[in-house]
Subunit: 412 residues, 2 copies
C-alpha cells in the first residue's frame, strides 16, 4: 500500500472571495469531485481553531509534529526556507547586510538594510570564505532576497541563548553578542558570533561590490547584523517512525526543508517552480514515478497561496482548475486506487479577499480502500463541513500513513 499527500498551499477561502463563494467553490473540479464521491471529506484546523498558521508551523503540524514544541523560532525555519542544509542542533540566525561606519574604533550602524542592496548573492561567497576552524565551528551563510540572509552555525557546545548583534536601530554601535544564560556554550557561541562579525566586516569592507556601490553613492553592505538565534530542533523522521521510504516533490525551498527535516528525500522535478507557472503535469508524472520506489510521496503546490496573497481570486480559481485537470488528471490516470491512500488539502486558508493567511479551517479529502465513504458529492469548503471525517487539527500524515497500516501501536 502506498500513500500520497498533496498540499495546495493556502487552498482554503472565504465567501467574500468571489461574491458569496470561495475560489474552490467556483472552480470546476471534476477529478476532485470524483475523488470526493469515492472518499470522505473533513475540515482541518492546521494548528488549532483560531490560530493563524505560518507555512512552516502548519507543515510541521500536518506532518504530525507539535509546532508549539518544535518551532524554536524563525531563524531555523528561515534558513530551511531559503534552502540551507540545517540539522538538529545547528544554531541559526536571521542576517541582514547593513552599512556601518568606523567612528572612534566603533562600528556605527548607519543603515540596517544597506539600502536594500541587490548584490547579496555576490557578497555571499566572500562571507563563506571566512575561516572559523580556529574556533572549532563550521558555518554556512546564504543570502536571500534584498539585504536578507541566514547564518547557520554547526559544532559541539553551541547554544541559542545569545543576544543579537543587530542593535535594531541606527546611529549606535554594532552590538556585541552576549550569553543570555550562565553556560559555557552560551559564552562560547557569543564569542564566535563576535569574531564572525569582525571577520565579516574585514572581508566586506573592501569588497569590489561595495567599492562599486560607494562609487555610485550607494550605502555599502559592509557588515552583517545577526538576530533571532534559534536551535534547529530534533524532529524524529517520519521515515523512522513509520518504517517507510518517503519522497518530496516541491518547488519552494521551505517545503523542501521541512520535508528533509522529516526524513523525506527531496526529488528534483523539472518545471516545479514553486509559483503559478509550475508544470503541474510534470509534478504528477514525477509523483507517479516516485510511487514506484517510495511508500509515501508528499507533493507541495504553491500557486494557490501566491494567487491568494496577490488578492487575485480569478487567478486562484483558475489555478485550482489546473490542479484538478493537469495535476489530478495526470495522477489519477496512472494510479490504481485500490493500492493507494490519497489525501488532498491545504496548509491553511489564504483568501484573496484578505491576501493573508487566516485561521479558517481547510477542506480535506481522503480516498483509498480503508476510507469509509461519506455522502459528499463535491470537493469544497462547504461540502467538507458536512463531511464524514468531521473536524480535527493537523496530523494529516499520521492519519494517511495509518490508513496504509504503517507505524507501530502506541501501547499494547
Amino acid at each position: 500500500m502506498r500513500a500520497i499527500l498533496v498540499i495546495a498551499d493556502g487552498l482554503g477561502g472565504r465567501p467574500t472571495d468571489m461574491g458569496g463563494a470561495t475560489c474552490l467553490e467556483r472552480a470546476r473540479t471534476p477529478n476532485l469531485d470524483e475523488l470526493a464521491r469515492k472518499g470522505a471529506l473533513g475540515l482541518m484546523d492546521p494548528i488549532a481553531p483560531g490560530v493563524r498558521p505560518g507555512s512552516d508551523t502548519s507543515h510541521l503540524s500536518i506532518f504530525g509534529y507539535d509546532p508549539y514544541r518544535v518551532y524554536t523560532g524563525r531563524g531555523a525555519f528561515e534558513a530551511l526556507g531559503i534552502g540551507m542544509d540545517v540539522r538538529s542542533g545547528d544554531v541559526c540566525f536571521r542576517a541582514n547586510f547593513a552599512t556601518v561606519e568606523e567612528r572612534n574604533g566603533e562600528l556605527i550602524v548607519v543603515d540596517r538594510r544597506a539600502g536594500r542592496l541587490s548584490e547579496g548573492k555576490e557578497l555571499e561567497g566572500a562571507i563563506n570564505e571566512i575561516d572559523l576552524s580556529d574556533l572549532g565551528v563550521e558555518f554556512s551563510f546564504r543570502a536571500s532576497t534584498e539585504h536578507r540572509g541566514a547564518l547557520v552555525l554547526r559544532g559541539k557546545g553551541l547554544s541559542a541563548a545569545v543576544s543579537d548583534t543587530d542593535p535594531h536601530e541606527t546611529g549606535v554601535a554594532l552590538h556585541e553578542a552576549k550569553a543570555l544564560e550562565d553556560s559555557e556554550a552560551a559564552r562560547r557561541t557569543a564569542e564566535i558570533l563576535n569574531e564572525f562579525s569582525r571577520r565579516a566586516y574585514q572581508v566586506l569592507r573592501d569588497h569590489p561590490v561595495n567599492r562599486r556601490r560607494q562609487g555610485e553613492g550607494k550605502p555599502p553592505g559592509n557588515a552583517l547584523l545577526l538576530r533571532g538565534a534559534a536551535l534547529m530542533p530534533h524532529l524524529e523522521p517520519i521515515t523512522n517512525k513509520y518504517g517507510i521510504r518517503g519522497a518530496c516533490i516541491a518547488g519552494g525551498a521551505l517545503y523542501k526543508g521541512v520535508a528533509r527535516a522529516a526524513g523525506l528525500e527531496v526529488l528534483s522535478v523539472p518545471g516545479a517552480t514553486g509559483d503559478l507557472r509550475t508544470d503541474l503535469a510534470s509534478k504528477a508524472r514525477a509523483a507517479l514515478e516516485a510511487l514506484e520506489s517510495y511508500d509515501f510521496v508528499f507533493v507541495h503546490i504553491k500557486g494557490t497561496d501566491n494567487a491568494g496573497h496577490d488578492g487575485d481570486a480569478e487567478a486562484k480559481r483558475a489555478f485550482i482548475e489546473r490542479i484538478d485537470s493537469e495535476f489530478f488528471g495526470t495522477l489519477l490516470s496512472g494510479l490504481d486506487m485500490g493500492q493507494i491512500h490519497l489525501c488532498f488539502s491545504g496548509d491553511h486558508t489564504t483568501p484573496p479577499a484578505t491576501g493573508e493567511h487566516t485561521a479558517d479551517p481547510v477542506p480535506v479529502l481522503f480516498a483509498g480502500p480503508a476510507i469509509r465513504p461519506d455522502k459528499c458529492e463535491k470537493f469544497s469548503e462547504r461540502a467538507a463541513g458536512e463531511g464524514g471525517l468531521g473536524r480535527f487539527s493537523g496530523r494529516l500524515v499520521p492519519q494517511l500513513l495509518s490508513y496504509c497500516d504503517f507505524g507501530e501501536k502506541f501501547g499494547a
Copy 2:
C-alpha cells in the same frame, strides 16, 4: 471589522429536559434561526469531550487559555468571582469565618462555619483594618455568602506552596500554615498567614457582632480559616495578543473578573443583574454602544444557568425566548452584519433535568462576512450537530477574532 461574543450561561440542554427535547429546541427563536440561516453552526466541548466544566474554567477555555495550565486552583478565581481585584502573582485563599475556643493556649476549632453566620459583611471591615505593612505585604479580604470569603495577598517573595490553616475538622487546634517546599518565599508566606490568623482572632474576638451573637447563644465568627492557596496566573491579555480594545457586559462577578484578567474593560450596565430578572434589551443597547468604540464586546447572560440549576425547564425555555426577542431583537436591529462577526453559544450545558453543569457539547453559532454558510435553518443542539463548523474544544474568542483578521501569524 468588529466582533461580539454572546454567552448564555449553561445554554445547552438534554432531551430529558422537556419530554424528548431541550429547552432551546422547544423555544421559539426567530432571530437566532435567521442568524443560523445566514451563518454556520457547530458543537463546542467547552474544555474537552467528557469534561464537566466550571464557569471559570469554561470561560478561560472559551477565551483561548488552556485551563489545565492557568487554572491554578479555586482560590484565585473564587476571589475574582466575588469581584475582588486580583492580579498576576497574587496569592489567594478561600476563607471561612469559624468559631474557635482558647484552651491551654491553643485555639480549638469548634465550628468550621460559625453557625453559617450572616454577618460576614459586617466583620469584613474589621479584618481589612489589620495592618500587615510590618511584614511587607498588602492584603485584601472580602466576605461573600454566609461564612465564606476570600483573602488575597500581594507583594514580592510570596508563594502558594503553603498548607491550610483550616484543620478541616473540629475539636482540633487551628493549624499553623507550613511551607510546602524548601523556599524562602514559602516560609515567609506561611509566617505571614500565621501572623494574619493571630491578628484576625484579635480583631474578631471582641467584635460587637460576635458579642451580639454570643448574647443570642450563637457561635461567634471569631477566627478565619484559610485554605486552597492559589497563585493568580499570568494571562496574556487578549487585547495585547490581538491588538484590540475589548469590553465586557456582564452581571455576575466571576465573568467580570475573568474578562478583566483577559484585558477587557468591564462596563457598568443598568439592569444587568446576573439573574433571570436582568434587562436584556438594556444589555443589547449597551453592546451596540460599546461596539462604537471597542473592537470586541463580550456579553454574558446568566439566567439560562440559573433556571437550569433550579431544575425549571419552563423558566429556561421562556428565558431563551427572551434572549431571542429582547436581546437579539434589539441587537440585530442596530447591527450592520456586513461589518461584524458574531458568535453565540453557552459556556456549558446545564440541563434542568440534572440541575448541574454537564459535559455535553454546546451549540455554537457564528455569523458574519467571513463565515462559510452551512445548511442549518434553525439554532438548536440538534441542528448544531449537523452544522458546517463541526466539533471543537473551546477557543471561541480566537476563532471570532481571527475571522475579523485580528492577531499575528504563528510562524512565517
